[in-house]
């Protein structure tokens, strides 16, 4: 990286680019969550189940994010692994009101962590314990223990309780992810 680029970044003149992968089970609120980051006029009012995947772009703290909004339906989950290589961060969305399928989310997380493209990289993973507004939702601590997040020792991770409809908690989480990605990029350039 050239001297001028560094200077430009330091002054915040030039944007950094990062691609993140948004995954999670179906009906966990991935598209709703990304919808919230869009500008006011681009937002859609009704979210339908994603087929395949969608690519969304948004900006947070001077970093331009390209988000791959993957479909969470069982038959499309095999697509996820094809995008592990190109991403700098992963957002894993969990429906914390669906207690029955927490175990499925854990299984998918285990498959993710075991994947050769992910296992040896220090990919930051952001967990959204979504649908916190629901009456039967469990706390983010419980979600964290149900998914066994304490086992992840070789990657930075963070869990945030969120409500994708109102946007509560989303910015806090993405801020953490931005910092992590910046740090990673900084380390790689040294």
């Amino acid at each position: 990286m050239g001297m001028f680029d560094k200077l430009a970044f330091a002054l915040g003149l030039k944007k950094r680019e990062a691609s993140v992968l948004v995954i999670g089970l179906d009906n966990s609120g991935k598209s709703t969550m990304l919808n919230h980051f869009k500008s006011e006029d681009q937002r859609t009012t009704d979210i339908v189940p994603t087929v395949g995947f969608n690519v969304e772009k948004f900006k947070a703290r001077n970093v331009g994010f390209t988000a791959f909004d993957m479909s969470g339906q069982g038959r499309y989950r095999s697509l996820w692994e094809h995008y592990y290589h190109d991403c700098q961060g992963i957002i894993f969305v969990i429906d914390s009101s669906d207690k029955l399928r927490l175990v499925v989310a854990k299984d998918e997380l285990d498959i993710l962590l075991q994947h050769p493209e992910v296992r040896n990289r220090r990919l930051p993973i952001l967990f959204f314990a979504n649908k916190m507004d629901m009456r039967e939702a469990v706390s983010s601590v419980k979600v964290s223990s149900a998914l066994g997040l304490e086992r992840i020792s070789d990657k930075p991770w963070h869990i945030t309780a969120s409500n994708a409809v109102t946007g509560d908690g989303l910015h806090e989480g993405v801020e953490w992810l931005t910092n992590q990605i910046k740090e990673n990029v900084g380390n790689n350039n040294k």
Binding site: L25, D26, N27, G74, R75, R77, S78, D98, K99, L100, R101, L102, V103, V104, K106, D107, E108, I111, E136
Partner: protein, 582 residues
């Protein structure tokens, strides 16, 4: 142990509630999207204690969402679409006693009553006379008792059956006083029920109800008017139903009956056609595309085709408590799950065991289908009342291992040729002269053994073996032929195999037919042989015969002036290459 780890690889335990205190059977469970929100609920008709506390329970995910009290013991629960109103939510039908209760949006909607049966005239008269006090209690009891001997317990009304259960005079009298004022009715009860799509095959098309009753009838009900569209009869009481097809087009109902027979009913017939006879009473019935799978009380699993021909049977390790078909659409597979009395659930793909799930208690009811938002969910109710929900992993596969036991080998038919006349004659001859043949065989065997022994002895006598076994000179000889000819090099390796004693005065002598070979050095003196050291003696042998033949060369190891060699090796010489070329 291997199976145990397999099952944990395929199934995720999503929910386990040991205190659910459910008492139910597979027929009293259903999975359906009751609210049209894409979230399937679990509907369970709980038998309570078996006498009271019967409830219709609905689970949304892990939570109990609603409870409706049932008046009598439920025998079955089914969800079906009864109209075309939007949103497309199914109605719940609960069979209980002589009634079918229909719930819409989990509220009671309709009650269907089975048609009453004809009361035996003698029984009718007896009760009428008792009511008018022309007959006293003990007389009534005697008349009904003799009638019971005549027509059987099932031919009587429930009132008479209850009355005959009262043994002392006082209770009989109170029973009569309580009930004599009411009209005598003979009702039958629903034993099993299922659904049949009316005119369209879509998942959310309108379905008719198919009922099996204690009076050995099958009724098909119209879903809108609740009238009996069709009534068929069977020789015995139906206990399990499998229905497929469309009511308006063509349908087939397969019924397993209490007499251990399977009957088939088709559109247009009034009487069940016997299809297959079982060795014992059925405990579960599943229908595949072209076959029927039945589990029986004598621990067997049978498969029949639609015509009733037995395709295969399987002895199970324990009694079967429940049976369920697992249709996994993502894999395009239909499996059979059996809950056994040894705390296991076995999963079969056709007749191959592909998975075993170990549970803490005996599983009495299994239901497989879409629960919550997960398609492949297995809901199990234990004998102790606990509820266990398992989800099939996305990566799970059910491959049949090809090397799985003798069942494969048995299936392969040996290609046995036809019996010829010669074969038959030979068999006859063998059967008649078996003693003589055996003797001849034994005689020849002894002679063979004798000549073998003689040859061995003579070989030992002439020391014509390459390893010396004598205690004084233990030697080992090995010979090699090198070269292509006509001149060969013979290489003889000698080794003293004793531990300490050296061998002295040894020599190697080559002997051959002098018309074929000439040996360069036919006598080689061997120096003292130290134990363990290999000594090599070499000589050239030239083939002088022009006939292109080969012969043997004998190698003797001799000691001093002894007239017998210690060792002999016979070397088969190869054909000399030069002569082969010419």
């Amino acid at each position: 142990m291997g199976e145990k780890s397999n099952s944990s690889e395929r199934w995720l335990t999503a929910h386990h509630d040991p205190l659910a205190s459910l008492y139910t059977f597979g027929s009293c469970m259903a999975l359906a999207d009751l609210h049209g929100d894409g979230d399937s609920k679990l509907i369970i008709a709980d038998l309570g204690t078996g006498a009271y506390n019967m409830k219709l329970k609905v689970y949304k995910g892990t939570n109990l969402m609603s409870e409706n009290t049932l008046i009598d013991l439920p025998t079955g629960v089914i969800t079906f679409h009864m109209d075309t109103t939007e949103p497309r939510v199914p109605a719940v039908a609960v069979a209980s006693g002589s009634y079918i209760y229909i719930y819409k949006n989990l509220r009671p909607y309709f009650k269907f009553t089975l048609p009453t049966l004809e009361v035996n005239p003698t029984e009718f008269d007896a009760w009428n006379q008792a009511r008018d006090e022309l007959l006293d209690v003990s007389m009534l009891y005697e008349i009904l008792d003799s009638l019971r001997q005549e027509v059987g317990e099932c031919g009587l009304t429930t009132r008479s059956q209850r009355f005959l259960m009262c043994h002392d005079h006082a209770s009989q009298l109170t029973f009569l006083e309580q009930h004599k004022g009411f009209l005598l009715k003979r009702q039958t009860v629903v034993t099993c029920f299922s659904t049949l799509k009316k005119s369209h095959a879509e998942d959310d098309a309108i379905s008719c109800l198919v009922l099996g009753t204690e009076s050995a009838n099958i009724f098909i009900l119209d879903p809108e008017a609740f009238t009996i569209l069709n009534s068929m009869s069977l020789p015995s009481v139906p206990v399990f139903l499998c229905v497929n097809g469309l009511y308006d087009v063509e349908y087939r109902i397969i019924v397993a009956c209490r007499n251990g027979q399977i009957y088939t009913l088709k559109r247009g017939v009034k009487l069940g056609r016997p299809t297959a006879e079982l060795t014992s009473q059925p405990v579960g019935l599943i229908r595949r595309d072209k076959s029927i799978i039945v589990a029986t009380m004598d621990q067997y699993l049978y498969s029949f085709n639609n015509k009733g021909k037995r395709l295969w049977s399987l002895k199970l390790p324990a009694p079967v408590l429940c049976m369920e078909s697992l249709e996994i659409r993502t894999l395009g597979l239909t499996l059979t799950a059996l809950g056994l009395a040894d705390r296991r659930v076995l999963v079969y793909r056709d007749k191959h065991l592909v998975d075993t799930i170990h549970t803490q208690d005996n599983v009495t009811a299994i239901k497989f289908g879409r629960f919550g938002r997960e398609d492949n969910t297995l809901v199990m109710i234990m004998k102790g009342g606990s509820l266990l929900v398992k989800i099939l992993k996305r990566t799970a596969r059910f491959e049949v291992e090809e090397s799985q036991g003798p069942s494969q080998a048995v299936a392969v038919k040996l290609s046995i040729p036809k019996k010829t006349k010669l074969f038959v004659d030979q068999t006859m001859r063998e059967r008649e002269n078996c003693v003589l043949m055996h003797r001849v065989f034994q005689h020849d065997l002894y002679r063979l053994r004798l000549s073998t022994a003689r040859a061995y002895v003579s070989a030992l006598d002439t020391s014509s073996n390459p390893v010396s076994l004598s205690q004084s000179e233990p030697l080992k000889l090995s010979a090699q032929v090198l070269g292509l000819g006509p001149t060969f090099k013979l290489r003889v390796e000698l080794q003293n195999t004793s531990s300490v004693t050296p061998s002295l005065e040894l020599a190697v002598v080559f002997h051959c037919d002098d018309r074929i070979y000439t040996v360069n050095q036919s006598f080689i003196q061997i120096p003292m042989l130290v134990p363990g050291i290999v000594h090599v003696a070499e000589t050239l042998v030239t083939c002088i015969s022009e006939l292109g033949i080969s012969d043997t060369v004998r190698v003797f190891v001799i000691k001093g002036k002894a007239n017998r060699p210690l060792l002999t090796a016979v070397i088969n010489m190869p054909v000399a290459e030069v002569f082969m070329a010419t």
